[in-house]
């Protein structure tokens, strides 16, 4: 590999790292819902894309709305959709039956996707990006402004979210419910309230993630839901279930490697290597990146 190829390779890794912040946000959402409910929400990525569409719908009248408002609208829609998902797919299904919840979230995944296809006739929509004409040059490399914006926004969301989780009463309640649901109920924490708020907060994160991927790719399509679901789950597992720093780092790793493999081996083989990476993790380090050393239980 000569120098030019090397520069291109590094460039693609950098682009992938920046885009990986989307995966990191999705991974946090999957992890948090699993941590609090001990259930899988397969409709999460579809809901995120749905929220991004919702923001376009909400601002339909103001086509010239600044991108930052579009992102806030996406977060708002994400929160609303998150609460709806909880009440439709989780609330009335017995806690002891994880299979039924799995299936109901699959149903929601199909439903949300179909609502999107139905309202847009399946035509991909353009999504506004911020700073799309800005290019930062660093020697031979260049950083695209829209990807930089996505990355910075993603980091800001993560910091805000960590503050929420570790510095507020809601965060304490959420963590308590995730560790000892019955004990926290005895201490007067309303499980219902915590669950709903968890879904709203993760929904808002998901809405921003959906808007970010829309802005980074430049358009929205219902076809995005499935690959984002798969990538979000992979990030959750590589990062370690329930580990938020793990999800962040795994998101960046998956984003960077995906872009690198695409550069090296082409787009058709790209995902194959990501799947192999996941399988290797499951075999050699099933607890994820931040797994505690195996010891006595």
């Amino acid at each position: 590999m000569d120098l030019l190829d090397l520069i291109d390779a590094v460039q693609s890794v950098a682009d992938g790292l920046l885009f990986g912040s989307t995966y990191a946000l999705l991974g946090i959402g999957f992890t948090l819902i699993f941590g609090v409910m001990h259930k899988i929400n397969l409709s999460y990525a579809a809901a995120s894309i749905g929220a991004a569409y919702g923001s376009l719908l909400l601002l339909g009248g103001f086509t010239a709305a600044p991108a930052i408002i579009v992102f806030m609208a996406a977060a708002l829609c994400g929160g609303v959709i998150g609460a709806l998902v909880y009440f439709i797919g989780f609330k009335f299904i017995p806690v002891a039956n994880p299979l039924a919840t799995l299936m109901s979230t699959v149903g929601l995944l199909l439903l949300i996707d179909e609502i999107i296809v139905h309202t847009t006739q399946g035509v991909p929509l353009a999504y506004p990006a911020l700073y799309s004409d800005v290019v930062i040059r660093l020697g031979p490399f260049m950083l695209r402004g829209d990807l930089m914006f996505v990355f910075v926004l993603g980091c800001a969301c993560m910091v805000l979210f960590l503050l929420l989780l570790y510095r507020t009463r809601l965060g304490i309640a959420t963590r308590a419910v995730s560790q000892q649901p019955i004990a926290s109920q005895l201490c007067g924490i309303s499980i219902l309230q915590v669950n709903v708020l968890t879904f709203v907060v993760t929904g808002m994160l998901g809405g921003i993630a959906g808007a970010m991927s829309g802005a980074a790719i430049g358009m929205l399509s219902p076809l995005l839901a499935q690959p984002l679901t798969v990538k979000g789950l992979i990030v959750t597992v590589i990062g370690g279930l329930g580990s938020i720093p793990g999800a962040i780092i795994a998101g960046l790793i998956v984003g960077g490697l995906e872009s690198l493999f695409q550069f090296l081996r082409g787009v058709t083989e790209r995902d194959l290597y990501i799947m192999m990476l996941l399988f290797a993790f499951l075999v050699f380090r099933p607890g994820g990146i931040f797994a505690r050393a195996p010891g006595r239980d």
Partner: protein, 303 residues
């Protein structure tokens, strides 16, 4: 008439797929790899009949064995993890298999045509049935014969001690382990049986559609595979059949007149079904009341 014959064929093949997932779900594992075993069976059987000119039954036997071995090989590493991790592990395996067939080309020259799987274009010209003069009705009979055999085997398995062991592992793994059951062996065995059934189903699928390609074996098919037994209920093999008829016959074909709205209704009905009957259409209580209804006279006269 041909339409209904075709529909019955689809229902039969999907029942095989659902039964393969049923077998795995009995031991409490959620596997999204069934579509991958289905794909392996489809490609192996089709390659054997098209390129090597084997007889269909021999090809189906080999595809069942190959799928079973694949499932067994996946079972060992994948079963180190549980719950969500297993779902993701099997999902990743399924996607990896699909992407493998996406990049897989193996063609030979036959006359003017090139035959065999060809990467993204898929595998065309699997013409065993027309070449050997099978009518649509013969194919249908063959498919349902296989479904009946598989269902009978699973029914028998369910009534036997092995079925009780599998259910015990599914209900409470720790309790099963402490009463001396080799949990890993049971899980791998269930995975292997599931792989064999999916392999047969895939082999038949490849031959009646005459054209297979990688997109057919994606996450959607894997989700359907686990949806049938979960919607139908895990108490009994007929639940799976009922769910396949409901989804393929009623939701996909029966509601075609609704046009676009059908797809919307599809997801909503799954959510509704799970909210109303979280244990599936045919749960243990349902079976019991059905038995009471059918055999009420006999029991009444006995008492």
């Amino acid at each position: 008439m041909d339409f209904y014959l075709g529909l019955a064929q689809v229902i039969g093949v999907h029942t095989l797929l659902g039964l393969s997932a049923y077998c795995v779900l009995l031991t409490g594992q959620v596997s999204l790899a069934q579509a991958a075993f289905f794909a392996v069976g489809a490609y192996v059987a089709a390659i054997l009949t098209v390129i090597f000119k084997w007889h269909l039954f021999a090809a189906l036997g080999v595809s069942a064995v190959v799928s079973g071995l694949t499932a067994c090989a996946v079972g060992f590493p994948a079963l180190r993890v549980k719950g969500l991790m297993l779902v993701v592990a099997t999902l990743a395996f399924g996607e990896a298999v699909r992407l493998f067939f996406f990049n897989f080309t193996y063609q030979i020259q036959a006359g003017e045509l090139k035959i065999g799987p060809h990467g993204a274009e898929g595998f065309r010209q699997i013409r065993y049935f027309p070449e050997h003069g099978w009518s649509t009705f013969d194919v249908l009979m063959f498919i349902w014969l296989m479904v009946a055999i598989v269902m009978a085997c699973l029914w028998w398995l369910d009534q036997s001690r092995a079925g009780a062991v599998m259910r015990a592992v599914g209900e409470d793994e720790v309790a099963a382990h402490s009463s001396g059951i080799n949990v890993t062996a049971v899980k791998v065995l269930a995975m292997t049986i599931g792989g064999v059934i999916a392999g047969i189903g895939g082999g038949i699928f490849a031959h009646y559609t005459t054209h297979i390609e990688h997109v057919q074996f994606g996450v959607i098919l894997a989700t359907f595979a686990i949806a049938y037994p979960i919607l139908g209920g895990l108490s009994n093999v007929f639940g799976t059949l009922l769910a396949v008829i409901f989804i393929q016959g009623f939701l996909i074909e029966g509601l075609r007149f609704l046009g676009d709205w059908r797809n919307l209704l599809f997801g909503a009905l799954i959510v509704l079904a799970m909210n109303l009957r979280p244990r599936g259409f045919l749960d243990a209580g349902g079976v019991a009341s059905l038995k009471r209804m059918l055999f009420a006279g006999k029991e009444g006269s006995g008492a």
